[in-house]
Amino acid sequence: MSWTRYAAPQRFYPLAGRAVPWFAGLALLLTVVGLVIGLLIAPTDHQQGEAYRIIFVHVPAAWMSMIVYLVMAFWAAVGLIFNTRLASMLAVALAPTGAWMTFLALWTGALWGKPTWGTWWVWDARLTSELILLFLYIGFMSLHASIDDERRADRAAAVLALVGVVNVPIIYFSVKWWNTLHQGASVSLTKAPSMATTMLAGMLIMALAFWMYCIAVALARTRVIILEREHGTRWARQLLGNS
C-alpha cells in the first residue's frame, strides 16, 4: 500500500467519513474542557476584569485563520504541481473555514476592543493585516466560484493562493511599519505581563479544539465536494442510490 493510495477521491471519501466523527467529537470535548477552564476556573484579570475571557475564542481563531491559509495554499500548490484532484478539493474545502476563522477573529477582536480600548476598531497592524487576509480568502473563493470548469477553477485559484502566500509576510510587515509611522502613542496589544497557567492551558486547549473543528469541517466539506464532482462515476452513483 503506497502513501498515495488515499489520493483517489473514491478511497478518500470513506476514510474522511470515518474520520469526521472523531475530529468533531474531539473538537466538542476540547471545547467543553477549554471553556470550563477559561470561563469558570481561570482567574479574573486584574487589569481587564472579565472582558479578557474572550481571548479563549479570539486567539485560537486568529491562529487558525493564518494556519488554514498556509494549509490551503499548500494543498493548492500540490494540486497545481502534481495535478491531483483531491489536493485541489481540500484547498477549496479549507477556504470557507479559513474565511470564517478570520471573520471570527475580527469579530471577537471588536467585541474585546470595545470594553478594553473603548472602540470597536483600531487601525492596528494585526487588525489591518487580518482584514486584508479576509479579503484574500474572499478573492480565492470568488475566483473559484466564477470559473465554471472545475479543474481550471482549481488551478487558477491555486495560482492566486500562492501569490497570496508570497504577499502575506510583505503585507504584514508593511502594515506594521505603516502603523508605527502613523500613530505615535496608540493602544498596544501586548498581553498582560504574566499569564496565569490556567489561562494559558485554557487557551491552548481551545486552540486544539479549533484545530479539530477545522479539520472536521474541512473533511466534511471535502466529502461533499467529492460527491458533487464525481456524481457521474459508478461508485458515487451506487453510494447515492443506496443511501
Partner: protein, 240 residues
C-alpha cells in the same frame, strides 16, 4: 512542423529575431494599439483626475486637511485608475485569438507578458505619474512633497501594473471580470499604497524618504521577476 523548425532556426541565428525580437514586436504593437485607441487610454487618466477632484468636495476645501490627505488620496485614486485600465491588458487579445498564438510561440510566455505589461504601463501608469504634480498643486502639497509624490508614483505604478497583470491573467475571459479583478488585486497592492503614500507623508514630516523608496524599489525588482511568471502560468491555465 517544418515551418516551426525553420522559424526556430531563424530565431537562433538572426540577431533581431528570437526572444528579444518577439519582445520588441509585442511591445511596439501594444503601444501602437494604445496610441490608436486614445479614448480608451485617456479614460483611466480622466477617471484618476475626477476621483481626486471628488475628495475636496467630500471632505471640504480646507487646505490643512487637504495637505494631510493629499498623498493618500492621489495614491488611492492611482490604484483605482490602474485597476480600471487593467481589464484591457489581455481581454482584447483573448477575444481575437492573439493570446493563443502567443502561447504557441517559441518565445517564453513570461517575456511576452512582460512586454505587454511594460507597454500597458507606458500607456496608463506613466500618464498618471505625469499628471500627478498638477494634482499635488490642487492639494497644496508644495514643491518637495510633489516631487516625492511624482517619484513614488514613478516607482509604484509599474508595480501596480505587474501585480495587476497576474489578476488580469487569472480573470481573462470570465464573466464580471472587472469587479473580480479589483477584488483579487487590491488587497495584494496594499503594501505599494502604504510605502508610496508613506514616502510623501514622511517627506512632509521632514523625515527621510530613502527607506520607502528602497522598499518600493525592492518590491519592484521582485515583481519584475516573479509577476510575469505567475501571470504566464495563469494565462496557460485560462487557455488550456
Amino acid at each position: 512542423m517544418s515551418d516551426l523548425t525553420r522559424y526556430r532556426a531563424a530565431g537562433s541565428d538572426a540577431p533581431d529575431s528570437g526572444s528579444w525580437g518577439a519582445w520588441r514586436a509585442v511591445f511596439q504593437r501594444d503601444l501602437r494599439i494604445a496610441l490608436r485607441r486614445r479614448a480608451d487610454t485617456g479614460s483611466a487618466l480622466v477617471f484618476f483626475v475626477i476621483v481626486v477632484a471628488l475628495f475636496p468636495l467630500g471632505v471640504g476645501p480646507e487646505f490643512g486637511l487637504l495637505r494631510r490627505m493629499g498623498p493618500g488620496v492621489v495614491w488611492v485614486a492611482a490604484l483605482l485608475a490602474s485597476m480600471l485600465a487593467l481589464g484591457r491588458l489581455f481581454a482584447d487579445d483573448h477575444a481575437d485569438g492573439t493570446l493563443e498564438q502567443m502561447l504557441l510561440s517559441p518565445t517564453p510566455l513570461a517575456l511576452l507578458v512582460l512586454a505587454k505589461t511594460a507597454a500597458h504601463w507606458l500607456a496608463s501608469g506613466l500618464l498618471l505619474v505625469l499628471i500627478s504634480p498638477l494634482l499635488a498643486l490642487q492639494f497644496d502639497l508644495g514643491g518637495e512633497a510633489a516631487g516625492v509624490l511624482f517619484l513614488s508614483l514613478l516607482l509604484g505604478t509599474p508595480l501596480l501594473s505587474l501585480i495587476g497583470a497576474i489578476g488580469a491573467a487569472l480573470t481573462v475571459g470570465l464573466r464580471g471580470a472587472g469587479v473580480l479583478l479589483s477584488l483579487l488585486v487590491l488587497p495584494l497592492c496594499s503594501p505599494v499604497l502604504i510605502f508610496g503614500a508613506g514616502a510623501v507623508e514622511a517627506s512632509q514630516a521632514g523625515l527621510g524618504v530613502t527607506a520607502h523608496f528602497s522598499l518600493l524599489g525592492a518590491m519592484l525588482l521582485a515583481a519584475l521577476f516573479l509577476a510575469p511568471l505567475a501571470a504566464a502560468a495563469a494565462l496557460r491555465i485560462a487557455l488550456e
